[in-house]
Symmetry: none
Subunit: 423 residues, 2 copies
């Protein structure tokens, strides 16, 4: 089963945006055991798009196209692929209703060009779009099929996960299963050196490392006749990884993010949380608030970017600021303690640092960040040096704050249970 | 002059890495006035790479290939392109010397497979690599040419800038310039319908719309003999767009983001800012804090996710919460007023809404968001209905808050200057 990825959009040809869709889809196909030999980018041009689709239909079984499904004249993907696969366009009642309700909800009038988004090729599978106006489509023709998805990643990815994964799974003769072991707080090269022996002799399952900000994910993938057999191959490898990385693994569940794991840890230990942020400026709170159900632990968050706010909201002492400056271990510590005092939260994480581009000195360069974590009376402070631009430094600091929070809460739990046993 | 970009590498086909090279090269070609109609990704496979190169030679004048120049057996690009363009490989003395010195400097021995990197097609232009072992190559054949560059961006980019830009400039008769007109608060289809006449008759300059969350960017691009002449074509079109979209245009500067424009507006009017966020939970503050220099306007930010925090930090009344619930215009208004009272900021924006996935009712569904903006005594509240998942709703609400803030501050400025004129 061979797939081919076609990304449609002049903005890609002009280099205005980076083609993250193709990498996402390629990774998904690989995980499903579907080979992919070509990726093509083509503009919103009828002739060239037609050529590309015809060539792909000759050499591949599955075409996955993104982009060009919108309401404008430029959007041609559906029209071109339908013509190439000899399918007539007909109106889809549900797509039309969803279009109307989409605009109604926003209190906006539907302009005429929008209606064409309710047209779909006859006998096709319609992938209704919960995050935008253009539905996705699967067109089948004998053994060949074309999967048409919208271009914006925020619409394309949920659509792929909701509909396309299951559809493609049925087309693949072997079942591919995978488990992702998510590790935090260790760098990629260190992780790789710790499993060098496993990486060298990998075959089925394979182990693929992916580096993320502050995290390394190890995807263990096996193929076999059914899921049970594939999982039987995966299990001993995951067990081995667990013995090597122990507490640095925060989950083996694909859906759980680091912030999710941290919130779960707080929830299950009935601990409440407060955040006090300077350079990350809300980014840490924002990641935590993205976890549904966080309301049970999150007491309050504060962005104390100015010294005044640091003093007023978290009671950082004027003397501490004068003596050590705002970017110091001492100020981070007072911010964390003060946050818990003000919010009565069990746990408070504070971040203060220099995100740049200006303001760095030889002694305190851009990228220097202090993170403190207060847990029920005990405060831990760590110093970090990050590189990259302002936004990269802030992302790194946010991930580091989550990792430190997890570490401190785990230490607290261990101490408490140890204390209980002792007494 | 038409170019085509071919990226060679199985790691791209597997989605292990994102193809940033193609975007970089595409943008460079566009800036040089060279059209680019196709980008292809193909693996380290002789047959498929040969096919791809032959097809590209038929339809394009310039082939730009990255990757597959290294020392391993998998690296086939030079061999395949030379064969397709009927050029024999010969040893290049300088390339050989650089290879030896590269390894000497690092105190490493040269393994045998490395020598093939000193082979280049006869009569080609060799692009010596200062950052790695594999030289780049330009092969010419009549009017066609192929530019072969190494895959690692750290080697490819400096090589492109040192050699290829000048080489391609001589091939391109025209210069391309562009200006981006950034619009906020109007949907993509509405924007397009407002400039339908301009889109229909566009030629040189062209107008390309790009939709972002809460924004639409119109890129106006012209080509001419030099930059001055190109800009002369662009100016009247930008003027026309300005007359149609007026205040909804927040900038025509490529580098300025919406949050940047909002911070600049506050700065130039000496207004200070406070944020009070419930469902966006710090995302709004985080976008604002990403603007360097925001410290001069940003007083404090608060994440009041719980009702307790709403009451304690911003003084929302218990009665208001009971009567109208947390997601209501009334609570949004009290949050904004209370934020300014507590922080003494001139402007406070508050956001309260249902980001889901749970907690929605028929009367107050998931996606319902209230945003209030307080500016020096006057508070404006707006109701929004967003769709999508939790993260999408929060992103939409954050963009809407920036747009509302901009609108309210602009209204305030107009009133003040009007008031001055009147008195």
């Amino acid at each position: 089963m061979v797939a081919e990825i076609i990304s449609v959009g002049t903005e890609l040809l002009l280099g205005n945006i980076i083609n993250t869709n193709a990498a996402y889809l390629a990774e998904k196909c690989a995980a499903l055991g579907i080979s992919c030999y070509y990726q093509t980018v083509v503009g919103d041009n009828e002739e060239r798009l037609t050529d590309t689709v015809k060539t792909a239909l000759k050499r591949s079984d599955i075409l996955i196209l993104t982009g060009g499904l919108g309401p404008t004249q430029d959007d041609l993907t559906k029209e071109v692929v339908s013509r190439a696969m000899k399918k007539e366009l007909v109106e889809d009642q549900k797509a039309k209703e969803m279009l109307i309700s989409f605009f109604e909800k926003r209190g906006k009038e539907i302009t005429d060009n929008n209606w064409k988004q309710a047209l779909v090729p006859k006998d096709s599978i319609v992938l209704y779009n919960e995050n935008g106006t253009a539905p996705g489509i699967i067109i089948e023709d004998g053994k060949k099929c074309a999967v048409l998805l919208p271009g914006p990643p925020g619409e394309m990815k949920p659509m792929f996960e909701t509909y396309v994964t299951d559809y493609l799974k049925k087309k693949s003769p072997q079942v591919i299963s995978s488990v992702t072991v998510k590790i935090c707080g260790i760098g990629e090269s260190k992780v790789e050196s710790m499993i060098q022996d496993m990486l060298e002799k990998q075959e089925n399952p394979t182990i693929a490392p992916y580096a993320k900000t502050g995290e390394v994910h190890l995807r263990v993938t096996a193929s076999d006749v059914d899921e049970k057999a594939a999982m039987k191959r995966i299990k001993p490898v995951v067990k081995k990884l667990k013995s090597r990385f122990a507490n640095d693994i925060y989950t083996t569940d694909e859906k759980i993010t680091l912030e999710h794991a941290v919130v779960d840890l707080l929830l299950s230990n009935k601990l409440t949380l407060c955040t006090v942020e300077s350079c990350t400026g809300g980014m840490l709170a924002s990641r935590l608030i993205n976890v549904p159900g966080v309301s049970d632990v999150f007491k309050s968050g504060h962005v104390t970017y100015s010294n005044k706010a640091k003093k007023k909201i978290t009671g950082v002492k004027k003397r501490t600021l004068e003596k050590h400056t705002a970017v110091s271990a001492q100020v981070a510590e007072e911010m964390a303690k003060g946050g818990s005092l003000a919010s009565k939260a069990d746990v408070t994480v504070s971040v203060t640092g220099l995100a740049g581009p200006d303001g760095g000195t030889e002694k305190k360069p851009v990228g220097l960040v202090y993170i403190a974590c207060y847990v029920k009376g005990k405060t831990t402070v760590e110093e970090y040096h990050f590189s990259g631009n302002r936004s990269k430094i802030r992302e790194n600091a946010t991930a580091a704050a989550l990792i430190l929070m997890r570490r401190c809460v785990l230490e607290y739990i261990t101490e408490v249970s140890f204390g209980k046993k002792e007494s």
